[in-house]
């Protein structure tokens, strides 16, 4: 089949990665099998602020991920309880998720927060599984990556930032918390001390703001970049679609091979980014808890 017009790869990539008000189930042979049109509600006005709260594709997949987290944890908990009452060792689903939960609790939360890390373990585990499910849903056919949306990762980073700061305030007390911002470097006296303290105040404040900002951007960029690479590789096929047969088949074969490789890599990245988000959150919580 010869292509009539020059394909717009950029538009295709944006269409696949950006948010939409409909979920299209596209057929592999062209066209859509069926499309779910999500309802569009009237925007809410709060003063000058206009909020459009109608559900989008990413919202649907985020809620699906949340539901899946609840479902797996509920089923795991139920089967674990049954097996415990029967006096058996955990097996099946319970055993599988127990190993993951133990890894996140012991090697991510407690190992990096230090003593008192157990009370943050539920939050860290929720972050890990929620992000993991959102990442994996993006790799499913017809799926959408909710973590490939700055609003979603920004919201996650906001909760992480608030947890870091508020837990720090509670652990250090008001005076101790102020000392993490207004801080005289040790070994300085007189004018140097005052000057360095004044210089360090904005640096410390920026440092506090950069942590959640970096968390947000890292997750967003990683998930989006992977999809960009996959879609660009697939787009190569259409760019070379008008060439001679040898080039067409060669490019198509090469693209599909690399896309397969990138998909396997994306599977790794989905786990790695969930791990890194929870790891960095617990490292930052630990830094604030033990600031002395």
């Amino acid at each position: 089949m010869m292509l009539q017009e020059k394909p717009d790869i950029g538009e295709m990539i944006m269409h696949h990665t950006s948010d939409a008000h409909e979920i299209a189930f596209e057929s592999p042979f062209g066209g859509a099998l069926f499309t779910i049109h999500l309802p569009q509600w009237e925007p809410i006005h709060i003063g000058k602020l206009v909020l459009d709260l109608s559900p989008t594709k990413h919202v649907v997949f985020m809620l699906l991920a949340a539901f899946l987290v609840w479902l797996t944890m509920y089923l795991t908990g139920r089967s674990l309880q049954k097996q415990r009452e029967a006096g058996e060792a955990p097996h099946g689903l319970a055993s599988m998720f127990e190993s993951m939960v133990l890894f996140v609790r012991n090697d991510v939360a407690v190992a990096n927060i230090g003593h008192g890390g157990e009370k943050f373990a539920p939050y860290i585990m929720t972050l890990f599984f929620f992000i993991l499910y959102m990442n994996l849903l993006g790799l499913m056919p017809w799926g959408a990556t909710a973590t490939g949306n700055l609003a979603v990762t920004g919201g996650l980073a906001l909760t992480a930032g608030l947890t870091i700061e508020i837990s720090g305030m509670r652990a250090l007390g008001p005076a101790g918390y102020i000392r993490t911002i207004v801080f005289a470097p040790p070994g300085t006296t007189g004018i140097t001390k005052w000057l360095l303290t004044a210089i360090m105040i904005p640096v410390e404040v920026i440092g506090k703001l950069v942590k959640p900002f970096a968390l947000c951007l890292r997750l967003f960029a990683n998930m989006t970049a992977g999809h960009f690479v996959i879609l660009s590789l697939l787009g190569l096929i259409f760019l070379f679609g008008t060439g001679p047969a040898l080039i067409r088949w060669g490019v198509a074969g090469g693209s599909v091979f690399f896309v397969l490789f990138m998909m396997a890599l994306e599977l790794l990245v989905a786990f790695l980014q969930a791990y890194i988000f929870s790891l960095l959150t617990s490292v930052f919580i630990g830094l604030m808890q033990h600031e002395h």
Binding site: A214, L217, R218, A221, N222, A225, L279, L280, V283
Partner: protein, 85 residues
């Protein structure tokens, strides 16, 4: 005549923005490549010297690589904004 010049100037500006974005992305990747390459190399060296500490070294390696990656991806996202704007 004037409109032609204005259109040409806009096109040139867009092209220059794209060129700048491309160069910026490349520079960011060079830095990240050097940084993460050094982390990986040193970590492998450390594990070879002291295999029993490999779990700790791997954790520290991933953490540091993630920090470098964060800065790089920030650069890439801002470079991508030039393409979109």
């Amino acid at each position: 005549m004037f409109q032609d010049t204005a259109a040409a100037a806009t096109t040139a500006l867009n092209n220059n923005a794209l060129l700048g974005a491309g160069i910026g992305m490349g520079l960011a990747i060079i830095g990240a490549g050097i940084g993460i390459g050094r982390i990986g190399g040193q970590a492998v060296e450390a594990i070879a010297r002291q295999p029993e500490a490999s779990a700790d070294i791997r954790g520290a390696m991933i953490l540091t690589a993630a920090l470098i990656e964060g800065a790089t991806l920030a650069a890439l996202v801002f470079a991508l904004l030039f393409k979109l704007l």
